[in-house]
């Protein structure tokens, strides 16, 4: 049969039928881009050996509009996001699985671009995509492409990171500036359309994590402040550990463009999504050492200690403002919608 028309072709229902056209899509697009011994086997599952240690599994479904943005696309995001969720256990991510839900009519050229980008992200991270699945839904029952990735990894001996481990006195660190991803996506929203000299921070953080846990195995927990941003993620951690938190606004790295965008849209950078940053909580006595390790890593150059875990039965996250007042950093309430008042 003639090859897929990756220039002008579109996804058709037939590509999800499980028949020859499905096999062709897998062979000419996915398997070619992801190429590895496991996919080449052509089975409905991958088999591999894992190094010894506790196993970690994480999954995320990725839905994003637009699909392409400065700094990445849904494909690289799907790879980074799941690698990061695995890495946040202190683990080394080893293998990825990917499930695609494609909308009828989606341009194959866009799909190819996304798949190439996933392949590049996986290659760069050293985490192969070893199994996958593709479904096609009728036009109007999807949104171009949704990608669910699942990762497995292994935790080095002796680590037990978890969101419930924060203790009063611990210091709170972030690995870099916040809000870049969310503001980049907003800048592309039709009607909002602003240009900013920033892109998504989407990146795989397992290299940084490996350096951190090796140097400071005492780290209590790591988490990537994605949806809901720094503010909401800290509330999650505070709740899980039954502690409060006190932040210092002056220490939280926020790019000028992110601040400006938030000002004119009525948003709070604390709640804007990140896709390549992490929060670390560690005992106070190791905080400076951890900060130094992070600063020494390319992905942690702008890392900062931004606050302290405190005792608080109400699990409030509070923040000393730049201005000098103290404010509540509550759970995100609803979606952050651009506002006029």
């Amino acid at each position: 049969m003639s090859r897929l028309d990756l220039k002008r072709g579109t996804v058709e229902m037939i590509h999800g039928s499980g028949g020859r056209a499905s096999a062709q899509l897998v062979a000419e697009l996915f398997a070619r881009a992801f190429r590895n011994e496991w996919l080449d086997q052509g089975n409905d599952q991958a088999q591999f050996d894992l190094p010894p240690g506790r196993v970690v599994m994480a999954t995320d479904s990725h839905v994003i509009s637009p699909l392409f943005f400065p700094g990445g696309d849904i494909g690289s995001l799907a790879v980074h996001g799941t690698i990061n969720d695995v890495a946040m256990a202190g683990a080394r991510p080893c293998y990825l699985a990917a499930g695609f839900v494609l909308e009828e009519g989606f341009p194959l050229a866009d799909l190819a671009r996304i798949v190439e980008s996933m392949a590049a992200a996986a290659r760069e991270a050293g985490v192969p995509i070893v199994t996958g699945d593709t479904k096609v839904v009728e036009r109007g029952k999807g949104d171009g492409v949704f990608i669910t990735t699942t990762g497995v990894g292994v935790v080095p001996e002796g680590l037990r990171l978890s969101g419930d481990q924060a203790r009063p006195g611990d210091r709170i660190l972030v690995s870099g500036s916040i809000g870049d991803h969310g503001v980049t996506i907003l800048s592309l929203r039709e009607g909002l359309g602003f240009e900013a000299d920033i892109g998504s921070d989407s990146q795989a953080l397992h290299g940084l994590v490996a350096a951190m846990v090796e140097a400071v195995p005492q780290i209590r927990c790591l988490r990537d402040p994605t949806r809901g941003g720094l503010g909401n993620t800290l509330n999650e951690l505070a709740q899980q550990s039954r502690v409060g938190m006190q932040l210092d606004e002056r220490t939280i790295p926020v790019r000028e463009a992110v601040r400006a965008a938030c000002e004119f849209l009525g948003l709070d950078p604390l709640y804007v999504a990140n896709e390549g940053k992490l929060i670390a909580i560690c005992p106070a006595e190791h905080a400076e050492q951890l900060l130094a390790v992070m600063h020494a890593h390319p992905q942690g150059r702008e890392a900062a200690i931004v606050g302290t875990v405190v005792e608080d039965p109400q699990c409030f996250v509070q923040m000393q403002t730049q201005f000098g007042g103290n404010r509540m950093v509550d759970w995100l309430n609803g979606e952050q919608l651009p506002r006029i008042c």
Binding site: F194, E195, A257, A260, F264, I340
Partner: protein, 85 residues
């Protein structure tokens, strides 16, 4: 509240539109509500419309006033300190 922010006019595109800039962000805005705008002017931006020019001299005056107040406060504190000591 009416969310608005001072932005700098970078480029006048036509009668209606200009490119404005703030904190490294560039955005096309509607300037039909203001006359005699020029590049470099600051305007108050609301729902994509420039509502009013920002008077930079007045802004400096306000800031100077605040600073003065600071000095005044300092002076008073100093005076108070003297009295108490």
């Amino acid at each position: 509240m009416c969310l608005a922010i001072p932005v700098r006019i970078e480029e006048l595109l036509d009668e209606q539109t200009a490119v404005a800039c703030i904190g490294g962000l560039r955005k096309t805005v509607n300037v039909a509500l203001l006359d005699d705008l020029k590049v470099g002017d600051y305007v108050i931006l609301h729902v994509g419309f420039a509502l009013q020019k920002l008077d930079e001299a007045e802004a400096q005056r306000s800031l100077a006033l605040f600073a003065e107040m600071g000095q005044l406060a300092e002076a008073e504190r100093a005076a108070l300190g003297e009295m108490q000591s």
